[in-house]
């Protein structure tokens, strides 16, 4: 697996480069780094994958996997009956949506921690891929219904904005305690049942 290529200077001068001159690249005429690689750079083929893969036998993750999934795909044509639903009739139609962006639920802890190697946040998808508003919209509508119910029962005085923020969580906790539900501070199927909100 170890590959050694011996370059003879006169051969290089005569234009004979080995097929894979990964280790030795003569001079700076291949190093024009303005976006597009030069032809020589392309032919140089100093690809990280092969180098990483053959460095040791312990970590050859790059071309390691057989990658045939044999797993049966992610078919979702069959919609089985939804079960996150509550039994009774919907009691509330939400007002016109005024919602803009999904809010992070947790604010980062105040104390600055040493920067962990955390990948950057997922950014919004670029134009060519369709965005996925459907679920966001669905969750927001349910959250608004819950907020309205919490308001009606006197637990919540905040905005009906479809965002489960700190005050909404406090209200949920209080409501769950009073109704002897499991106390989570989140919207659970039990909460929806109690308020008669149909989720699906």
């Amino acid at each position: 697996m170890k590959k050694r290529l011996f370059l003879i200077p006169s051969l290089i001068a005569a234009g004979f480069l080995p097929s894979k001159a990964g280790a030795i690249v003569p001079g700076d005429f291949v190093t024009a780094k303005n976006g597009q690689p030069s032809v020589l750079e392309r032919l140089k083929l100093k690809h990280i994958f092969s180098l990483a893969g053959h460095r040791s036998h312990s970590s050859h993750r790059s071309h390691s996997s057989h990658r045939s999934s044999s797993s049966g795909g992610y078919s979702y044509r069959n919609y089985s009956p939804p079960t996150y639903t509550a039994p009774s009739t919907p009691s509330y139609t939400p007002p016109a949506p005024t919602y803009t962006a999904p809010a992070p639920v947790y604010t980062p802890p105040a104390a600055p921690v040493a920067p962990v190697v955390t990948p950057p946040a997922a950014a919004a998808l670029a134009a060519p891929l369709k965005t996925l508003p459907g679920n966001t919209d669905k969750f927001r509508r349910i959250a608004m219904q819950v907020q309205s119910a919490l308001t009606a029962y006197g637990y919540y005085t905040g905005l009906i904005d479809g965002k489960v923020g700190p005050s909404c969580k406090t209200a949920l906790t209080a409501m769950q305690t009073d109704y002897r539900l499991k106390v989570t501070g989140t919207i659970t199927p039990e909460v929806l049942d109690t308020f008669g909100i149909v989720a699906n």
Partner: protein, 362 residues
């Protein structure tokens, strides 16, 4: 075997949803993160944007950093990314335009487009992850696939892809885009089974496939792409391996690695096992010759999916541990083997009765 599906409590969703599971709130919290709030026996409860999300685990598994895909109305979620595993692969389509005799994932007609979800999932992967893209033939949906790679590349330049493709669908116009996507971002895993048209076409079940493949490889080479050529060795092509070694050296020497692979006994591979499986533990001559020729000429060569004890000692350095962790198993004879840590073992669906005859603990 690791089950790549998880039982969940259904979510009120109308389209497929990608969620990253976290044990603790993070500094970088995204709208896709669900944070563990409660553990009750085997049921884990997460807070997903204020909604409760229940997940059921089998053992004491830790899902921190894992990315899952939930589908409307389903109680099963797919584990797209396991944060501790190097073997994360997206099955982007089950459609294919070839019918290979050893195919482990036989094609289906239906295609569900989940590229948007895959783009989100990839952008939630751990730092410096390599994500496999498999099928079916991913390039049947080339525009969507390229968009996905470009989207991820723009937000997560650290993520790399290993894309398995039959190499049939590249056109000259793709070169600029391939270059722009970054030749080091993608490793193309392309199968070639023989140096002659007839043998290759017969194995992949498609007339003209060999010729298309040569054109496709030419385009990838022009773009300076990273290429891993993959040859499953079978009864059909074992005697032609040295021809293929010659062909690769004279025509395709700028590839990054040539992988000679063992069969996977599932799908068509299982159906055609008796007529295709080549027991390389009893006859390694052709493979040895191909390795000798290629190594001497500076072509990187590797053996994938070969148990170490099936390979003669002097060639074991080429045998990489390649079987994905979730479908990997070891046999009883492996119990007292000293090389187990370096060995990829066997596919979950390997049957020793019909398998390698010449194995033994090292």
């Amino acid at each position: 075997m690791i089950d790549l599906r998880l039982k969940i409590d259904p979510l009120p969703i109308v389209e497929p949803l990608v969620i990253r599971l976290r044990n603790e709130p993070q500094n970088y919290q995204t709208e896709h993160d669900a944070v563990l709030v409660d553990t009750e026996g085997t049921r884990l409860e997460y807070d997903y944007n204020g909604f409760s999300f229940g997940l059921h685990r089998q053992d004491d598994e830790n899902f921190d950093g894992d990315v899952i895909l939930a589908l409307p109305g389903q109680r099963i979620a797919h584990r797209l990314i396991r944060s501790k595993s190097p073997h994360n692969t997206f099955l982007v389509t089950e459609q294919c335009d070839q019918l290979c005799v050893m195919c482990s994932q036989p094609p289906k007609k239906h295609h569900a487009d989940l590229f948007s979800q895959f783009a989100v999932a990839a952008s939630l992967a751990p730092l410096n992850a390599t994500i496999g893209i498999s099928g079916g033939e991913p390039l049947l949906h080339k525009e969507r696939l390229f968009s996905m790679v470009e989207t991820v590349a723009s937000t997560r330049p650290d993520i790399r892809f290993h894309i398995l493709s039959n190499g049939q669908h590249f056109v000259t116009e793709d070169i600029a885009r391939l270059v722009a996507m970054g030749t080091e971002r993608i490793l193309w895993g392309i199968p070639i089974y023989a140096a002659d048209r007839l043998t290759h076409d017969r194995i992949v079940g498609k007339d003209g496939a060999f010729q298309n493949l040569q054109r496709g490889l030419g385009i990838l080479i022009k773009a300076g792409s990273s290429i891993e050529l993959r040859t499953v060795v079978m009864q059909q092509n074992k005697d032609r391996l040295s021809d293929l070694a010659n062909f690769l050296f004279t025509r395709l020497s700028c590839i990054d690695v040539w992988a000679i692979m063992q069969m996977e006994r599932i799908g068509y591979g299982r159906m055609n096992w008796a007529t295709s499986f080549h027991d390389s533990s009893t006859d390694f001559t052709q493979i040895a010759k191909a390795i000798d020729m290629s190594a001497a000429r500076g072509i990187s060569i590797a053996l994938y999916n070969f148990p170490l004890c099936s390979v003669p000692p002097q060639y074991r350095e080429f045998a990489l541990s390649t079987i994905s962790d979730w479908k990997q198993k070891y046999l009883d004879i492996c119990e007292r083997c000293g090389s187990r840590a370096a060995c990829g073992g066997f596919f979950e669906w390997y049957s020793h009765k019909e398998g390698f005859a010449g194995l033994g603990a090292l």
